[in-house]
Symmetry: C2
């Protein structure tokens, strides 16, 4: 094994998993396509054992599907699969927000959330918003949702939300990008930001039901958002995750 370059800073399994996920989300591998272990070995640089572990993990993650006769194929999703996933995630986040409100959260714990909020406000002042600002928005929004989830203090719930978000298309923030040039885009971001504000307020005032309701509404907004994006396919290239959507023939 002279020529195999081995990077020992991360495990081969993790390296393979990241590489394969990249390939999946970038669209190098088409939905329904069978994934070849040997090919994966070549493209990832790891050997078969770590590659197989990565494949198992990606299957559990929901990006791959086991073929009964052996091996794995790239999973394909319908538009409804995706909108359901968004709603599902919203439902779980609603539960997290309710837990946070009911169980109580100190002002100190809410601080990072509020910082996120302000930072997003800052970005949204730009009209129309630039691509760079969008990129920052996506990061900040993801951070906001992650922090909110943490406030539930419920490891099983946090874990489950992570899994529901693992399918990257379930990330509401992602879809926004697809329509950055649409006139409705900015408006949608502003409504979403309003939701963020309300959920913090509800948690501060220990209004569990209100906190839950607004997060579910937030997800419904994201679903409308997705529909809009799919009707205006011009910017879909900004959404690598959508490579996993089934083609029209399905």
């Amino acid at each position: 094994m002279a020529e195999r370059e081995v990077d020992r800073s991360v495990s081969q399994t993790v390296k393979a998993q990241l590489a394969l996920r990249d390939q999946l989300l970038s669209g190098s591998l088409r939905p329904g396509e069978r994934i070849s272990e040997l090919q994966a070995v070549e493209t990832t640089g790891a050997s078969r054992t770590p590659v197989r572990m990565a494949l198992v993990r990606l299957e559990e993650e929901g990006l791959l599907e086991a073929i009964p006769s052996g091996g794995f194929m790239v999973k394909a999703f319908s538009e409804r699969d995706i909108s359901d996933s968004i709603e599902l995630r919203g439902t779980l986040e609603g539960l997290a927000a309710r837990f946070a409100a009911e169980r109580g959260v100190s002002a100190r714990e809410l601080e990072p959330l509020k910082e996120c909020l302000s930072a997003i406000d800052e970005l949204l002042r730009q009209v129309p918003i630039s691509v760079d600002a969008f990129s920052s928005y996506v990061t900040l929004n993801a951070r906001f949702h992650a922090l909110l989830t943490e406030l539930s203090r419920s490891p099983p719930l946090i874990r489950q939300i992570d899994r529901a978000s693992a399918l990257p298309f379930a990330s509401p923030s992602g879809f926004v990008m697809a329509q950055s040039a649409l006139p409705e885009a900015q408006q949608i971001l502003i409504i979403g930001q309003e939701h963020h504000r309300v959920v913090i307020d509800a948690i501060e005032n220990r209004e569990g039901a209100r906190a839950e309701a607004v997060m579910r509404e937030h997800a419904r907004l994201a679903v409308r958002n997705l529909r809009l994006a799919l009707r205006n396919r011009t910017h879909l290239d900004l959404l690598p995750a959508l490579a996993l959507i089934k083609t029209a023939t399905d």
Copy 2:
């Protein structure tokens, strides 16, 4: 490899996974305990590769936890972890019930649900209920919940509910058993059965909100149920899954 008996009817990976899960739920392996690959190889009869695949799957399933320095340990759960898991599952089932109601379900699809309902009614007529009848109840109840989940016609949601149920303690039916001899037991089963009846009615009448609400209430009943069971520990041996609960010192 003369003496290793190989059963070719199922894959070694699946065999190892089932065997290890058995060990976890039966309490042979204690929470927090590190799991030895070599030992697992001996007890399962599979070789290291399939054992490792099984360990990865069990980690994704939530029964094991990866140790940073390598290997896996048996995950430990607090009482709140478990009650949160039940509520989480109820929330997802509520969404499934709502989807079923909103998207419409034919009378023919509801038939199996109603059969389950009647069968459970039959069992509950026994007062007090026998251990055998309990066992049947658990099976039927699980079937009812699975069928209900299917009605949502949402693969991502079904998948997620399966995962939330994968932690077996999250199965509301399980906890009932722990208190089969308690005076409150029968009453709880009867209330649960009433919930089942209501959710079917709500789905038939396309009342999404009502269908969702009753499933969430159903989960809250299961949580009360769990608390009751834990206060009356005499029958905990009926609940192997609870072997995973952290001991009092945690």
